[in-house]
Structures are given as C-alpha cells and as structure tokens.
C-alpha cells in the first residue's frame, strides 16, 4: 500500500461511492444481519399456509401447478428445433484469440456513470486497459453498479478474496512471474474453481507456454484445472502440447484418439484413426487401436459394395432381408454377425467373408461360433448350423462338438424359434444329464425327457411328467408303454 492514509480518506470522501473496508467486514456484518432478518421472517413463511396444501396431480403424476407441468401449460406448442441445437454443439470451440477488442470509448468516467442498457457490464478491467494487447482480464463481477470500487494495490490474497466474492478485479497489475505465481497459489488455497480458472486464463495469456507448463507441473491442483479448462473450451492443440511437455504420453494418445468421435465422415474418420496408430498407447491398447482402424477400413469397403448390391436388387439375400442400417462404425462382433448373415458362403479371400474377419481380428473360436450360430439360426439355415458343430476325425467319422457347450446352442436355437426336431437333436447332445433334463422340460422336447427318465430308470419323475403332456397324445402313449414295460428295473 503506497497511498497514505490521508490520501485514501480523501479519495473515498470525495467519491460518490460507498466506501469499503479492506477485509470486507461490512459485508460479513450485513450478511449476518440479513440472515438474522431471514430467520425472523421465516416464522411467517412457515405459518403462512401457502398454495402447497391443495395439491392435485395429473395423470403423469406431475402435480397440477408444479413447474414442469406449468411449462407445458403455458408454452403451448412451441416447435422444437433439435437440429439447430446439434449444429450449435458441433461448433463449440472458441478461442481467446477471437476476443473482441474492448471498445476504447470506454473511459473510466463513462464506466462509473451507471448503467446504460447495452455494454454496461463490460468488466472494469476492460474499461481500464486501453492497449489491445491487454484485452482481457477475467471478470467475475457482480453487475451491481453501486459496488464498483477499485484499488490498485491489493495483495494477491485480497485480490483472490474479492474474486471469490464475485467482485470486479483487475489482474493486470501482477506483472512479475513471482507475483503471478503468488496469485495462483492464493487462488488454489481458496479452493474455488472459478477463481483458479480466472487466474489460469490470465496466466495462460500473459506467460509463455513453456513457463506456464513448467510452473504448473509442480502445482498439481492448478494443473488439473487447466487440463479441465482446455478440455472444456476444446483447445486440443494446447492440451496435446501440455501432455507432451508433462510426458503424460498415454493421456496424450487417448486425448488425440478421443477426437475421432467428433468426425462424422467415415473416410475422414478412417484417415484420422490412421494417425492414431503408433501413438504411445499401452501395448494392449495399441493393438486395439490398430484393429479399430482396420475394422473401419473393412466396413467402408463392405458398405459400398453391399449398398450397391442391395439397390441393384439382384441378390436374393438382400431382397429377402433388406438391411436395417449401415454397417459403418458398428462393433466388431456386430460386423461379424452381419457378415455371417449376408456373406456366409464367401471364400476366405474376400474382405466380407466371416472367416477372413475371424483371421484378421483373431476372433476366438467361442465368439465366432456363437455369432455364426445366431446369424444362421435367424435365417433358419439349419444345415449351416449342423455343419458348424460337425467335425470329422481322420478316419472319416463325424462327431458333434461345440466349444460353447450344447446347452448354449439350444438356448440360442430356441430364441430363434427353431422347430422341436432341431432343438431335440441338440438337447440330446448336452452331456450333463440334469442340464439336459432341465432344458428338455423347459423347451418341451418330450421325447428327450421321456427317454432320459427311462435311461435313469426314474419311474417317479416319468409319472410326474405324464401329467404335464396332453391327454391322449402320442407322448402319453409312449410314457404308458414304457411304464408298463416289464423289461425295465425301476429304481423307484
């Protein structure tokens, strides 16, 4: 504080504005008074039976008279404009380089004249700085004209305290690096994100990148705020620079990769993904990124080809089962399903063949079989399903084998409305007898249930099952025949 006491008093006495004391005790005091007043007046509110008692509820449960209900009532039919909003979202990046220069017509006096309608809330700092270079200091000011007070020599802690209270404050006078850092540390110790961000914006503008990064590296809290801020305003370039400087390479890579989500055009997205390959991901992730690129590359080829086939109308499968959506940007397993559905029989050499996908992406056997089964069952291609589980040994004998277990096969077939004969065949292949019996009962494969009970020599269970089948049906006859057989030694 350079000003002498006398000067100060003179200044305040001569000004028309309300004086303030340094630590804003008057503020605290008036707040206290206010809250006391509030507490006293609360009694009235509590006693006063206002509107809430009579509550009616509309069918949607919205109490009639509630806020969300009233919006519908008073707004009527205001056409929504969804696309407009989307567009707005997509052009969200804004940079401080584009900041409008402060209108130089603002002099101190015009600023203090009180409120004119437009532009009256330009920040104090704008009004004070005439050089365009110092175009912007963050402004947190409460737009209360009567509160415009200003001093040139607040300490960092006072400045920060004022910022936190939402008062106008200029940061321009903190010129030395030491002062700026002091300011930042004060802001951080205040635990107010708004203030920290305000100081950071000031530092970002007035410090070189290298110095800013270097100082933030040892101030982790402020660093996190800057990272969040850069993400929020979409300053991807500076963010990447920062990660590079900090040697946070994986975050750098991920942050770069994240950008692909905002690219709609498939070709451009593909090209972008290509730039992600070779970024310092973990070994595991690097492989996934490579796969992501390869997959999209494939999808683009398949999509172009199939769209053409479909519109030509010559291919039966597309005529019978028109595609519901484009295959672009679908997950790998979905793509495999698609390829099993439309391109099942293609030779391994074509990009769209399931076998090719399986090899390229090293899809595990289990996953492949599950997906192929689901696709072929949906097409009711039972022959393909059969082939999927048939293996030949070296003697030429065929054997049924399922890497996913036949219980799963049965469930998938059932979901796809497979006929009982087919279901029965696979239920029979389930090895565990209890599971087999359960599935057979659940899916009404009567023959399997009956035969299994017979094999188990479980007379009681067979009797119980008899009550579940239709009267006079073939199944009932079969059960009766077995029950009356003298050949079987029942265990119960």
């Amino acid at each position: 504080m350079n000003r002498t006491k006398v000067d100060e008093e003179e200044y305040w006495n001569s000004s028309k504005f309300k004086a303030f004391t340094f630590d804003d005790e008057d503020d605290e005091l008036s707040q206290l008074k206010e809250s006391k007043r509030a507490v006293n007046s609360l009694r009235d509110f509590v006693d006063d039976d206002d509107d809430d008692d009579l509550e009616r509820v509309s069918w949607t449960g919205e109490p009639v008279g509630s806020i969300s209900w009233s919006i519908k009532e008073t707004a009527g039919s205001s056409g929504s404009n969804h696309e407009g909003r989307e567009q707005l979202k997509s052009r969200n990046s804004f940079s401080y380089a584009q900041l409008p220069k402060p209108p130089s017509t603002y002099s101190l006096s015009s600023f203090f004249k009180g409120r004119t309608r437009l532009g009256s809330f330009q920040s104090l700092s704008d009004a004070l700085t005439d050089t365009p270079a110092k175009s912007y200091a963050p402004e947190l000011g409460r737009p209360k004209g009567e509160f415009r007070d200003y001093s040139n020599d607040w300490s960092p802690s006072d400045t920060v305290r004022r910022l936190r209270k939402g008062k106008v404050c200029s940061l321009e006078r903190f010129r030395s690096l030491q002062d700026k850092l002091l300011l930042l540390e004060e802001a951080v110790s205040m635990h107010d994100g708004n203030v920290i961000t305000a100081v950071l914006i000031f530092l970002k503008r007035t410090l070189s990148k290298e110095v800013l990064f270097r100082e933030l590296e040892v101030r982790q809290v402020a660093l996190r705020h800057l990272i969040h801020f850069l993400k929020e305003i979409g300053d991807q370039k500076l963010l990447l620079d920062l990660f590079r400087f900090l040697d946070r390479t994986e975050e750098l890579a991920l942050s770069h990769y994240r950008e692909h989500l905002s690219i709609q055009d498939p070709e451009k997205r593909k090209e972008f993904l290509k730039t992600c390959i070779g970024l310092p991901f973990s070994v595991e992730d690097a492989a996934h990124i490579q796969d992501h690129y390869t997959l999209l590359e494939r999808q683009i080829i398949i999509e172009a080809n199939d769209r053409h086939l479909e519109s030509a109308g010559q291919t039966e499968i597309f005529r019978k089962h028109p595609r519901k959506a484009s295959i672009l940007n679908m997950p790998l397993v979905t793509t495999l399903f698609y390829s099993c559905f439309y391109h099942y029989t293609e030779p391994e050499g074509t990009f769209s063949s399931p076998v090719n996908l399986k090899k390229t992406f090293k899809i595990p056997d289990k996953q492949y079989v599950l997906t192929a089964l689901a696709a072929r069952a949906k097409l009711r291609a039972w022959h393909d399903v059969d082939a999927l589980f048939t293996t030949k040994n070296w003697l030429g004998y065929t054997k049924k084998r399922a890497p996913i277990g036949f219980h799963r096969v049965v469930e998938i077939l059932y979901k796809n409305n497979a006929p009982v004969q087919i279901l029965q065949e696979y239920v029979n292949l389930v090895e565990d007898v209890d599971t087999k019996l359960n599935l057979a009962t659940k899916f009404k494969c009567h023959d399997v249930v009956i035969d299994t009970c017979r094999d188990l020599k479980d007379r009681q269970q067979l009797l119980a099952y008899r009550s579940k089948v239709d009267k006079g049906s073939a199944e009932e006859e079969k059960i009766d025949a077995i029950l009356s057989s003298t050949q079987i030694r029942w265990k119960n």
Binding site: D52, P63, I71, F121, E232, H288, L295
Partner: protein, 539 residues
C-alpha cells in the same frame, strides 16, 4: 405438501423456506411481467421447492423450455433464463437473445445461474456478444435440496473430490469469530466415495433401492410404465394418453411408502397384503354403521381411507413390476455372481456369467458394473483377466470404449492388481462386510439392505459411533485416502444439557453420491442405536 420435511429430528422445512424466499427476492428484482426460460434439467430440482403459483404471484406469466433458435412469442417485460452453468446452454441463450432483439420491442433479459455463476459461461456469452444484454446476472445456490425429513441432496452430477482440508481451513479462518448459535448437529462425518467404491456397484435390494435400480428415481420422482396403472375414473381424463409414463412422487409424506421404502424387497409383499386386509376391513365397517353418528364418522374417515387405498394400489403395482424383474432367471444369476464376489469367491479368474453377458450383449453398464465389482473385491484384477475382459468388451461394444475403460481406471473402479496382494478379505473380515445369516424380514444388521453385504460406508459410520475407529486402524490404513478426526470444542455457554431420551444427531456427508440402500441402512442404524438420528446428505 412439504410436511414430510418437518418430521425429522432437524426441521429441514426451514431450509426449504429459505431457498423459496431467495427465489421470491430474485423475481422481485426484475420488476414487471416476466417469462422464465428453463433449462429443462432444473425443473426437477425446482419442483421440489416451489410451485408455479409461487412464480405466478411474482408476475411470471409464461414459462418455456430452453431451445435453440427463437423464443415463443410472449408479451412480457422481462425474460429470465434459469440455467446450469454449461457452455452449450450459453450458445442457445445467445441465439435466443439475438433473435429476440431482432423481433421488436426491447425487453429486459436476466440470467440466473444454478447453483453457481461461472466465469467460463459468462466469457462465452461475451464472445457471442450478448453478455451486455443481461441486466441481472446472478447465482441461485440451490445446493442442498431437502428430499425428506432426513435426507438432503445436492442433485449435481459428477462432483467427486476431497474437501476435508477446505473444511479445516475454514475452521482456521473462523476461529476468533465465536460461534453464537446452538449447533443443530453434534457430529459430522465426511465420507469420500473413493473410500467405498464397492457399495454403489452392488445391486440394491431394498424396495426403494430396487425402484431406483430398475426405473431410476430422479428428484424423488419415478417414471413407470403406465400399463399397470388403471386410468383414473374422474378428473382430467380426456387428454391423457395411456402411453405416457406414469410419474409418481416418492417420499415419506406417503404413510405406506415410509413404512416399506427401506425394507428388503422380500419383506414388502407381506406388508402390502396386511395393509390390504386392514383397508378392506375398514371399508367393510360401513355395513356396521347404523346410527347417523356412526355413518357420519365413517364418512369423515373416507378421504383418508381412499388415499390409503390409492397408495396401496400404486405400490402393489410397483411391487408387481419389480417382482417380474427379481424373479427372472437372469436377475438371480447376476445376484449370485455379485454375492460370490462380495463374499470373496472366485474373484481372481474370468467369470463365466460375465462372459455370457458380453456374448449376449447385455447392457454395457451391467457388464461394467460386474467387472468393476470383481476388480474392487479382488484389489484389482489379474492382468490376464483384465486384458481378457477388455478385449471382449471392445470387440462386442465397440473400440471407442477404450476411453470408457480408461475413465474407469482413472476413477479406481477397474485396475490391475499391483504386487499380487488382495486386501479385500482383510477388509471384509474386519468390518464384517459379509454376513451369512441375514434376516430380511426382521433385520438385526445393516447387511439386510444388500441381502448379506453390509455397505462399507455405513459400517464405517456405525463403527465410528461405537466403539470408535481406533479398533479398526489397520483397515483404515488399507482403505484409500487418509482419515482424520477433528474436534471443534464449543464455548461452554453453548453446551446444552442433553435431555434424557434425546440423542446425538450426526450429519453424514457423502462426497460423490449415496445409494438408496445406504440411506436405508443409515435409517436402520438410527433406529437401532437408541434412536440416534442421522441426517445424511449426498452430493
């Protein structure tokens, strides 16, 4: 309507009235007729503190939802935007204001940020050239919304940080300025969600918890499929479409709900059927009413009985909807896996059920919740297991979820096991997190809310009250983050004599959210521990 807030030991209605007053004051600042443009998200929280009639008394004539392009026509002097401090909303506001300026007579614009003003947002408005159009730019600190007699919420998404040192700092700053009010709460416990990541991953099994799991409770409202709810016989029949979701408010003002909300779902059915008998018996009374006096008395009870019947009908329908889910095979399988993990079985290998869920492309949230649960119950997954899950998830749900998985790792929900040490069994045993003999009907321990698992957070609160944390220091060292206790001595004049039967009130602050089952467990504790009442806040 707000009566349910006064039931608790601490009268939260005062808080509600305070925010209402602040709202009126703001509205009165903008003299003349007004229209409010709402950030749709805010209508929920505001609905809990005010009604349209309150706004109307203060000359609010129109209300719109915030949408792109231009505002609907409104012949008012003031247009006030009620918004969260979000950049994308600022763009919409700017568009509204600019098109309105072109339209005609000048209007006064105001903006009310809820709950905080934000530098970034004002900067954005400035960049878009509209900041100067606003006469009042203020913040409305709708921080703590009273939900119920003992529950407040900040209803904010995403906040997840440590504030304890800030509290201590505040204490330091305020020393000297003597406290001159009687404290309402005796103890304050701050719990960072990071300490207990396990609990929110498990499926809640209380009635309210399940409603939230299946349908989602927002601002104490739930939206339900309408089929089960027969349309009302009278009233506003015509314009109601049966396809619209049925919206119900859930709080303790409803007698029946207060009784069943915190019960394990398996204990709800019997309460409902008992209630049904009582109510039908009450209605039967009319046959016994012979004298005019008796009939009069019966009639006077009718409104209450009808309300009870309506309430019973609603909850029976909800219980049916929930039962459809809980009795499904898949729900049972999922619960089995969760309970295996929480009791420490097979947490170190790839789980078959999770594999199946991925193969059948169940919702990604469900899969991630299970994988994270396994990770937390194993102090991190073995690298091989983690890589396997990751691969399966990426191939099935899309490679872009690399980002999702990294976020989970950052939050500590999913991680590789470091040093091959699994601390969970120690924590589980010391804190008795898994109880084999759980009584769902007449619970004796908080573990009933998850049918066996006692929420870690609540167990910590319980142990703090008795016998104190000194007994579990070893575990506290293993749990993430530091812990500490602070005592704030009261000036002797303010130490009130405790009346017999009056107990200490503890305020528990969950930083990072709380589940309904945890709230239920806390309510249960407060009944168990000699009526020690706890109000829990969540963020």
């Amino acid at each position: 309507m707000a009566a349910h807030l006064s039931y608790g030991r601490v009268n939260l209605n005062v808080l509600r009235e305070a925010v209402r007053r602040e709202l009126r004051e703001f509205l009165d600042k903008c003299a003349g007729s007004k229209a409010i443009v709402w950030d749709e998200y805010l209508t929920g929280p505001f609905g809990l503190i005010a009604q349209y009639s309150l706004l109307k008394e203060h000359e609010v004539e129109k209300m719109f939802t915030l949408k792109a392009s231009r505002l609907p026509a409104a012949d008012v002097k003031n247009i006030i935007f009620f918004v969260r401090p979000r950049l994308e909303l600022m763009d919409i506001i700017a568009e509204n204001v600019l098109s309105e300026d072109r339209r005609g007579p000048a209007r006064d614009f105001h903006i009310l940020f809820v709950p905080r003003r934000s530098l970034l947002c004002e900067q954005r408005l400035k960049d878009l050239g509209v900041l100067g159009s606003f006469i009042h730019r203020e913040e409305y600190s709708l921080d703590l919304i009273p939900f119920d007699g003992d529950l407040l919420s900040m209803e904010s998404e995403g906040a997840f940080k440590q504030v304890a040192n800030m509290m201590i700092r505040m204490k330091r700053e305020f020393t000297g300025s003597q406290n001159s009010v009687f404290p309402v709460f005796d103890n304050l416990l701050l719990l960072d969600r990071n300490v207990d990541l396990l609990t929110p991953l498990a499926t809640q099994l209380t009635y309210e918890g399940l409603i939230d799991e299946i349908y989602g409770i927002q601002n104490s409202y739930v939206k339900l499929p309408p089929e089960k709810f027969a349309p009302k016989k009278q009233g506003d029949g015509g314009k109601d479409l049966p396809t619209e979701a049925k919206k119900l408010q859930l709080n303790s003002a409803e007698e029946l709900y207060a009784e069943i909300r915190d019960k394990n779902f398996n204990a709800v059915g019997s309460v409902l059927s008992k209630k049904a008998k009582v109510i039908s018996a009450a209605f039967e009374e009319r046959h016994n009413a012979k004298t005019v006096g008796e009939i009069k008395q019966f009639v006077s009870q009718l409104p209450h009985m009808q309300a009870a019947r309506g309430s019973l009908a609603n909850h029976t329908s909800i219980a049916e909807l929930i039962k459809d889910v809980t009795t499904s095979e898949d729900f049972f399988d999922k619960l089995t896996v969760e309970q295996e993990f929480m009791s420490g079985i097979d947490t170190d290998k790839v789980n078959g059920y999770i594999e199946d869920c991925i193969a059948q492309k169940h919702s990604l949230i469900k899969v991630l919740r299970l994988v994270c649960l396994q990770s937390v119950c194993n102090s991190g997954l073995k690298q091989k297991v983690l890589d396997y899950y990751k691969r399966e998830i990426l191939q099935t749900y899309g490679y872009e979820h690399i980002l999702t998985l990294h976020n989970l790792e950052k939050a500590g929900l999913l991680k590789p096991q470091i040093g091959g040490r699994n601390n969970y069994p120690t924590i589980r045993k010391t804190l008795r997190l898994w109880m084999d003999d759980v009584n769902e009907q007449n619970p004796t321990d908080i573990s009933y809310v998850y049918s066996g698992y006692a929420p870690l957070s609540v167990r910590l609160a319980q142990l703090l009250a008795r016998p104190g944390w000194r007994s579990i220091e070893e575990v506290l060292r293993i749990l993430p983050g530091p812990h500490f206790e602070e005592r704030q001595p009261l000036p002797t004049g303010l130490q009130k004599k405790r009346q017999p039967g009056e107990n200490r009130v503890t305020l528990i602050f969950f930083l990072g959210g709380v589940t309904f089952a945890e709230v239920a467990a806390l309510r249960f504790l407060s009944q168990l521990e000699d009526g020690e009442i706890r109000a829990s806040f969540s963020q």
